[in-house]
Amino acid sequence: MNLNQNILVKLKQAGLRINNKWLVKDVSLQIEKGKIVTLIGPNGSGKSTTAKIALGIYKKINGEAKKYTTKVGYVPQKISIDWTLPLRVSDFMVLTENLKEEAINDALSLTGVIHLKDKNLGDLSGGEFQRVLLARAISKKPELLVLDEPVQGVDFTGEIALYELIKKISDELNCGILLISHDLHTVMSATDHVVCLNGHVCCSGSPIEVAKNNEYKALFGEQASQILSRYEHRHDHIHTNEGKIKKN
């Protein structure tokens, strides 16, 4: 039962195990309307997997994952369009829902790619494609937005503008956002709740709480000013096979 009307997604010790290997384990989090939850962590730490668990993509998971909305916008981390499929930006915009022309134009204008509307998806650059992906996800005015590294490949000024846009969308549509990002500056400034992953939840809380956390420091480096350049991995525990944790 969903007692709190604001909750959109709730994970309770959720995890995924494929071929006897844990991709991610024991993740508990919830996404509420109007709030931005960000997942951070090194490569292979289970960020995308956690997002997909939240979206209900996997059928067999451990633990519990509940989604209380069907109005979902998703920007996957990777998507490749085969040449055999001729697809223009305008076709892609109505992929999962029929939209009015106006809604399509609005969304494409917001992410700054309205001029690409009649172009073939295969002809776009990485950054342009990312903007189209984001436009498609927001155009249907979702209650839940899941953004897996939404600004990868976008130029520096565009990146800042898009993060501002994401923040604005969260306020205007009052939708819950699950964001996966490598940009720790953005994460720390624009997020309500941060979950730091490394095969399991290392720590979570408000950005300030997480920044003070020792595990976070161990994961991303001691000095906050150097967080962007330091992705080195130091732990109070080591990871063995199957995601088991061994304390030092």
Binding site: K52, L55, G56, I57, T70, V72, G73, Y74, P76, I79, I81, D82, T84, L85, P86, L87, R88, D91, F92, L95, T96, E97, N120, V146
Partner: protein, 267 residues
């Protein structure tokens, strides 16, 4: 020149082409040409069954092809063999079993060539009836599952995440494939059905810039192939299936000229 049997074949062929157009696009997009082949090969077993039990060929082929599709799904779960190996296994074993069964049925005279390559003389009014009932039915169902099927063709996880139920759409599409094979086997022949699905769609890809356009061109290509192929078949007394496919190939080659131009324009 326009004999009764020819009119029948034409009406039947055009009915088939309207359906193979859109289905063929999905066969290309979803890389299902070997899957189509497998279902078509298994159709021989369906035909022999129909003769043995004195049953309608289209219905019997539909049942056997659907069954083979189910077995394939089950095998995929049970073994780690790659998909193409499983498809080859099912395609050739069902073809072989079908031929062996035919060997036993000495009391019935089979036109094997007709089964493999199609026979316009064999098209009856009943067949036309089945094609023009079954065909539109397939199209209506395809229209209903278009959104989830197309979205999951572009990206499965996106479709699943945004609540479109792609697994159900895929299962229904598989049944539609069995359906088109069932209604077109007499006309095109089981060895050439996949060609009828793929070649007009491939031609359409070369000259299209949107999915809807590709579907429309694919239908037009199929219709032209049927008309051209059947006229050739009548004129030179060639088998109907190969003549239709050869006509489709001709259209495909013509479409290459257009794609050459657009590549030149780009450079």
């Amino acid at each position: 020149m326009l004999d009764d049997f020819f009119i029948r074949a034409l009406i039947a062929g055009l009915g088939i082409a309207i359906v193979t157009g859109p289905l063929g696009c999905f066969v290309i997009w979803r890389r299902l040409s070997y899957f189509g082949d497998t279902l078509a090969h298994s159709a021989l077993l369906g035909v022999t069954l129909a003769y043995t039990l004195e049953f309608n060929i289209a219905v019997s082929v539909f049942i056997i092809s659907s069954l083979i599709a189910l077995i394939l799904i089950d095998l995929q779960k049970r073994t780690n063999l790659p998909g193409d190996a499983l498809l080859g296994l099912l395609a050739h074993s069902s073809l072989a079993v079908g031929l062996v069964v035919i060997g036993f049925l000495t009391f019935i005279r089979f036109d094997i060539m007709g089964l493999l390559f199609g026979d316009i003389l064999a098209v009856t009014t009943d067949d036309i009836f089945i094609i023009w009932i079954g065909g539109p039915l397939i199209l209506i169902i395809l229209k209903l599952i278009w959104k989830p099927l197309f979205a999951s063709t572009v990206n499965y996880e996106l479709a699943e995440a945004e609540g479109l139920n792609p697994d159900r759409a895929k299962a229904i599409f598989t049944i539609l494939m069995a359906g088109i094979i069932a209604i077109s086997i007499k006309m095109v022949g089981l060895l050439l059905i996949t060609g009828m699905l793929i070649i007009p769609a491939a031609m359409a890809r070369n000259i299209s810039s949107s999915p809807q356009m590709m579907v429309i061109y694919s239908v037009i290509g199929g219709l032209l192939s049927v008309i051209l192929g059947l006229l050739t078949s009548l004129e030179f007394n060639t088998a109907s299936g190969p003549s239709i496919i050869a006509a489709a190939l001709l259209l495909f080659i013509l479409s290459l000229l257009k794609i050459k131009q657009s590549i030149k324009l780009k450079n």
